[in-house]
């Protein structure tokens, strides 16, 4: 617990977007040589393998996720895209059977190092789940939850208002902050979950099929919101909806069956001119 507090408080004074936190890897150097293409790398996976018991769910994943962009993970069911997402904030630790090998860096720190407290790590990574899961608490308490458990300083009223505004929910709920979060509609609940995730100002926001349980109108609201969030946050989104990935993401990673990362590139390139025949088949709907 003391470790986590040191980790959390030791760096919280730094501006999370400042350049000196970026890592000196090949990628970031190549980025600086072509600034029009990419910004800094926030999450960087190197040879990540994941097993559930004896079954391999991810094979040798290597990819770099750029700052302040939307990176989409697409692929058929069971291809390991959600598993990869959960590697980033070590949610896989909660599953006894899961075992992760390889290196995964968040702003230069390997999150699988022995001295990393997964709880402290998750405080810097926001997560939005597949089905809206607000707590059975008031709207205000839902958004302030992260602030309270992390003992954050500051005026919670302001942060709650700001987060709800960023999640495009403030106008709908500003008069009913005392109401239970469960009384909102599905789309509103998911935006509440997004507000809850961004309230503690995380480094990265992970979204695990955030719109798959929603109707088309709510889905389009969430998509607009994700595009706006990418101005300030690095967003990693898993989706099984290829059109959604094409609409909102800057970069796309295609996972195919067996937990293999087949192709990772700019979204336009993936959808217009993929390198791999398998990716083209998947995108054009020949399988998966």
């Amino acid at each position: 617990m003391t470790d986590s507090q040191e980790y959390a408080s030791g760096e919280s004074t730094d501006d999370p977007t400042s350049d000196d936190m970026s890592i000196e890897t090949d990628v970031s150097e190549s980025v600086s040589s072509s600034p029009t293409m990419h910004s800094n790398t926030v999450v960087s996976a190197e040879n990540v393998d994941v097993w559930y018991n004896d079954e391999q769910a991810l094979q040798d994943i290597t990819l770099d996720i750029p700052e302040n962009q939307v990176t989409a993970m697409i692929g058929p069911s069971g291809c390991g895209k959600s598993t990869f997402l959960r590697c980033i904030n070590r949610m896989n630790d909660l599953i006894d059977a899961a075992r992760v090998e390889g290196d995964l860096y968040l702003r230069g720190k390997n999150v699988y190092d022995d001295d990393v407290d997964p709880v402290a790590l998750r405080r810097r990574v926001g997560m939005v789940f597949q089905s809206p899961n607000p707590f059975p608490k008031s709207i205000y308490d839902n958004v302030a939850y992260g602030l309270k458990i992390q003992n954050k300083e500051g005026d919670y009223d302001d942060i709650v208002e700001e987060s709800l505004k960023r999640a495009a929910l403030w106008d709908e709920v500003k008069d009913q902050l005392d109401q239970s979060g469960l009384e909102l509609s599905g789309g509103q609940q998911q935006r509440l979950c997004i507000a809850r995730a961004i309230a503690p100002d995380p480094e990265v926001i992970l979204m695990d099929e955030p719109a798959s349980a929603l109707d088309p109108v709510a889905t389009s609201q969430i998509e607009d919101l994700i595009t706006e969030l990418a101005e300030e946050y690095t967003v990693v989104i898993v989706t099984h909806n290829m059109q959604q990935a094409a609409r909102i993401s800057n970069k796309t990673a295609v996972f195919l069956t067996g937990g293999e990362l087949v192709e990772f590139d700019d979204t336009e390139k993936i959808f217009e001119n993929p390198e791999s025949q398998r990716v083209e088949d998947y995108i054009t709907g020949k399988f998966g």
């Binding site: 909660l94 006894d96 789940f129 899961n133 458990i149």
Partner: protein, 532 residues
């Protein structure tokens, strides 16, 4: 394909004979259970209350003042506005159940806990709580252990010093005033906040003050109505103020439920009007065995004078002890097993054993209590503490199982969301899992207490006296209980008058207490289900 006719003449029939027989067999089984229970209840209630001994005029009066208006208003409301009708009925039910609990509480404050003692402990707890809040607010940078130690010292010190200090004061306020402050004020605070939720600080303060004033009036009104200041204060703070607060709060938030209050008014008004009318007209009521004398006097050799008072008080004290012991132990075990324990062979072994323990006959627990507490630890037989501890052991497996069920019903997405926010396991359990599971845990515990209150065998085994002539006054005094008293009447004093009078009356009182405890559990469960 070509051989098929173009027009279908007849689809034919599929036999449902077996299904129909099965369905009516199930119906018969259901009806058998319900009818048998109903006959039993009517039989016992008839023996205990003897409604047929009343004047026909008595029945007619109440029929005209209470039954007819209630049916008319209730039926009309049910057809036009069911939500209001339910609300009105809920107010009546709440008043009835809370009045009963008020009776039990009044018994405690009259005969067991002096108001001044209660006042001292409440004052001590309040001061300790204030100290803890100050410590938490004052400096959050103090290490956890220091804060924990300071808070513990504040609580223990305050509890050790203040009650004794209050009791040693040469002069202290009257019982009514002390109870108003120590019982009425906390109740008024909770009720007032509920009734005035969202009305701002001024509205809340106003409703809390109103509650305190109403409770305070008991000290004046009680003696005037010849029921004493203490019972009147308890009745007002346990029954009247919460019911009124519930009604006022609901009506304020849902103005369209207002017609429901008409139903409440008709039931209450009809009862009072009927009582006044039969008194004025001189109609005699039924010669019920369950009467004021039965509830307030001790056992007697003659059935007509026998009462249940010490046994009721004993049951209340036993239930308090059982709840205090089994709730923390059972819920603690359930939280550990459900949230922390790894899933391995050992925990599965424990699982199976807890389920088996829940089915062990109660007399075995009695033997266990006798062996452990009396023989091994050398405690005196038949005390409140021993009885409560034995009954707590008896219901502990049930509490654990039902609490685990409640914890398991918390969706895993909630835990995932909390962990995803960077919460530790402790924060997740404290902030998300327990609040969500709490109503279910409480429901299970109340139902388990309902089992404990009806147990006779363990109390006999640990040597609880069959007959007691005064209320137990502390944890180490001898205790009897309602089922034990009924058993004594039916066995030791077996004679025609006891069989016809005291036994059914005791059973009816026991059943009423049990049913009202269960009704609290059911209301909690329904409220919980509606929230999901």
């Amino acid at each position: 394909m070509a051989t098929r006719a173009d027009v279908i003449e007849d689809f034919g029939h599929v036999s449902r004979t077996v299904g129909t027989v099965f369905r009516y067999l199930l119906l018969a089984a259901t009806l058998f259970g319900i009818v048998a229970l109903a006959v039993l209840l009517i039989y016992v209630a008839n023996d205990a209350i003897q409604p047929l001994t009343a004047d026909p005029g008595w029945h007619l009066t109440f029929f005209l003042t209470l039954v007819v208006p209630t049916l008319a208003v209730g039926g009309y409301l049910l057809r036009t506005d069911p939500a209001s009708a339910r609300f009105g009925a809920a107010v009546v039910g709440l008043l009835a159940v809370s009045t009963m609990f008020a009776g039990g509480a009044a018994m405690i404050f009259v005969d067991i806990v002096e108001p001044v003692t209660w006042f001292g402990y409440v004052l001590a707890l309040t001061l300790a709580l204030a100290a803890v809040v100050v410590i938490e607010r004052f400096d959050r940078r103090l290490p956890f252990l220091a804060r924990f130690a300071a808070a513990g010292a504040a609580i223990v010190g305050s509890l050790a010093v203040i009650p004794g200090f209050v009791q040693s004061l040469p002069v202290y306020p009257t019982d009514g005033i002390m109870l108003t402050l120590a019982l009425g004020a906390p109740v008024a605070l909770a009720v007032g906040r509920y009734a005035a939720a969202g009305a701002g600080r001024r509205g809340t303060a106003l409703s809390v003050l109103t509650g305190v004033a109403v409770v305070g009036s008991g000290a004046v009104l009680g003696p005037l109505l010849a029921i004493g200041a203490v019972p009147a204060t308890v009745l007002l703070s346990v029954a009247v103020v919460p019911t009124a607060g519930y009604a006022a709060g609901t009506v304020r938030r849902n103005a369209d439920r207002r017609p429901g209050l008409a139903f409440t008014g008709v039931v209450l008004g009809g009862t009072i009007l009927g009582a006044v009318a039969v008194d004025a007209l001189g109609f005699a009521g039924p010669q019920s065995w369950v009467d004021w004398g039965f509830l307030t006097s001790a056992h007697s050799g003659t059935a007509a004078d026998a009462g249940l008072y010490p046994a009721i008080g004993g049951s209340i004290l036993l239930m308090a002890t059982v709840a205090a012991l089994s709730f923390p132990l059972g819920v603690g075990a359930a939280v550990y097993l459900e949230e922390y324990a790894p899933d391995n062979r050992f925990t599965r072994f424990i699982d199976v054993n807890i389920s088996n323990l829940a089915g062990v006959p109660s007399v075995v627990y009695g033997l266990l209590g006798l062996g452990v507490f009396v023989t091994y630890l050398g405690q005196p037989t038949g005390t409140v503490l021993i009885g409560g501890a034995t009954l707590a052991l008896l219901i502990l497996p049930i509490v654990i199982i039902s609490a685990r069920e409640a914890l398991r019903s918390v969706p895993d997405e909630m835990r995932q969301a909390s962990y995803g926010m960077g919460a530790t396991r402790w924060q997740t359990i404290k902030n998300v899992v327990l609040p969500r599971a709490f109503p279910g845990i409480l429901t299970g515990t109340i139902l388990a207490l309902g089992r404990a209150i009806g147990e006779t065998a363990p109390l006999i085994m640990i040597g609880a006296p069959n007959v007691l002539f005064s209320l137990p006054t502390g944890l180490s005094s001898k205790v009897s209980a309602m089922p034990l008293q009924v058993y004594a009447w039916a066995s030791l004093f077996a004679s025609e008058p006891f069989y016809q009078a005291a036994v059914p009356a005791g059973v009816v009182v026991l059943l009423i207490v049990l049913l009202s405890m269960n009704s609290v559990a059911i209301v909690l469960r329904n409220k919980y289900q509606n929230q999901q």
